[in-house]
């Protein structure tokens, strides 16, 4: 029983990371139609920014700075690189591919290719006893952050004017522009939100794995892509459900099956979902 509890909470912690990355990706894709390969870069930028100041500033200011830097990076990438290629989706994907290659190399040249130990606050490394299982406290931090982000995003999308524009834009971008609303400001906003969430995910991943490396973003990104596709492009709640499914499946199969079987089963889940429900759980058709 205690093993199951520990596995479930660890899987949910992983799911929280996937959700933080995937929700931004999903919004960016749903609204702007950009498959953002540079999302992993936002994650690493946030993590390294927080890592740099965490010694001198303490944990909370470091997290805030990391999130702010990642959000700024996201907004800048949209303004400088993505916007000039408006409606040319393949070129936009290619630019983010180039950016992910160059950006990771840039981080490597500054901080080195090796993993750095990420300091975590004392309360995050303590252990909580639940139903006989010794669960590290940082799992609750991850899960709590993901739930807060989910509620915050849903409230933002539901109750604010910009949230309305974004929801309408995901539904039908051309109609929103035709109604005289400049949808491009919403693009920048979505990139900034995605960047901020990715930065937060990077910092929390640093605590979860207790180390950060320039390539970390890219390896998490692939599973986040899978979560986005399973959840349905453009849907935040779909991404949340898919993240929980993927995180739990991966953790349990990896423990009870052979090494690596969990990762393979996630891909099998993706194939199954795509064959049975090509538009994903949330059911918004992916534009061809």
């Amino acid at each position: 029983m205690s093993t199951v509890v520990l596995l479930a909470l660890t899987g949910l912690g992983l799911a929280a990371l996937y959700f933080l990355i995937a929700s931004g990706l999903s919004l960016v894709f749903g609204l702007a139609g950009v498959l953002n390969f540079a999302h992993g870069l936002f994650l690493s930028v946030g993590a390294y920014a927080a890592w740099t100041v965490s010694e001198s500033w303490g944990a909370i200011p470091a997290i805030l700075l990391g999130v702010a830097v990642a959000a700024t990076t996201g907004a800048l990438v949209e303004l400088v690189l993505i916007r000039p290629l408006y409606t040319r989706h393949t070129e936009q994907v290619l630019v983010t591919v180039g950016l992910s290659l160059a950006g990771v190399a840039l981080l490597q040249s500054v901080w080195g290719a090796d993993a750095r130990v990420f300091p975590r606050p004392a309360w995050a490394s303590s252990v909580v006893n639940i139903a006989g299982a010794q669960v590290p406290a940082d799992r609750f931090l991850l899960i709590g952050a993901a739930v807060l982000v989910l509620l915050g995003l849903l409230a933002f999308l539901r109750f604010t004017r910009y949230g309305l524009v974004i929801r309408a834009g995901v539904e039908n971008r051309d109609m929103v522009s035709a109604l005289g609303i400049d949808v491009r400001n919403a693009f920048t906003l979505v990139f900034a939100i995605g960047g901020a969430l990715a930065g937060l995910a990077g910092i929390l991943a640093g605590m979860y794995f207790s180390s950060i490396s320039p390539g970390q973003g890219a390896s998490l990104l692939i599973f986040a892509f899978i979560v986005v596709v399973i959840g349905g492009l453009g849907s935040v709640t779909g991404a949340f459900a898919a993240a929980v499914a993927v995180g739990l499946l991966q953790q349990f199969v990896n423990y009870y099956g052979t090494a690596g079987a969990g990762d393979v089963s996630v891909v099998a889940l993706l194939a199954a979902v795509l064959l049975l429900r090509p538009a994903g759980l949330a059911g918004k058709a992916a534009p061809a």
């Binding site: 409606t87 180039g98 190399a105 040249s109 393979v264 194939a271 064959l275 992916a286 534009p287």
Partner: protein, 369 residues
Amino acid sequence: MKSSSVPTTSPAASPAASSPSPPSVTPPGRLRRLAPLLALLVAVVLPWSTLRLPGLFEGPLNSPGTLQLLAVCLVFAGLALGYDLLFGRAGLLSFGHALYVAAGAYGVDILVSHYGWRLWPTVAVTVLAAAVLAALLGAVALRTSGIAFSMVTLAFAQVGHIVINRDPGGLTGGEEGLPLSSAGLPAMFTGVVNTVNLYWLALAFLTVVVVTVHTIDRAPLGRTLTGLRDDERRIAVLGLSPYRLKLLAFVLAGTLAGLGGATYALVVGGASPHIASSELTLSLIVMAVLGGAGTRWGAVVGGFLYAYLDQRLARLGGSLPGPFGEPLFVLGTLFILAVYFAPGGLASLSSRLEPLRRALRPRPAPDAI
């Protein structure tokens, strides 16, 4: 929405690149047709030259180091053109091409090193296996289209990468990679003295890919694939099955990738997990786009240059300041610049510069008309 799967070269760009000046056909036209053959001839006899090109290569042209570097460049030129059959011709943005390259490389490596198979049957079996793998996975992945197709291929390739890294049964050597045991190889491919044979092998691979892809280009199949890229519905209306055509292109590209992987394993003497990673696929995309996706020679030139720069910059790494020591930083930045400022890649440069050249050319006389 429709344009999301159309690669960088717009349909209008490719004819423009091939015929910038319609009237001059005879002498430059024939030269143009002979140029690839001449280039092949030069490439074949190159190992007999002791020419030194300081700055470009470290030793004379026929030194083993230089020949190996050139062989890797040739392999990547072939891989990039094979990928361009999918991306530039058929408009399928696959993020999982590395899987078939890795299948070829690890297939040859495992069968020769672990099971002591002889080389040529191994290559035949491996390439066939890569084709079957591409057929099976392609059949699933092609049920989706657009971005979902890219994602599914990426996920499949990622499974391959994970499996290779986990070293199942001690077969793949895990993160260390698996060196190719020289015991099972013919004598002509072992030893530093015989690097020249590896160079010719790589050249032969590139020739096979070029002949295959260019034959497809000229055949009705090539035109159908381009049609698929530009408007899938139109092909369907003509009574052809887009799904089968795309699957055919996917399998052909996978087979060429398997052959390339096998050649690569021979040239560098083993396989490492890097060739199964998504970065390899991304770099193939970069090569195709840098050179000019969908053009006759763009991907070949792009692949050759990319592999050359990648290896040379890694060698020079220490002596360059800051981020310029990282090959991927330089190549990634070049790539972004190319997407903005030379959307047709290197292949489009000549037609792009044509107005400039025309403006600079002195006019013989004021127009009489």
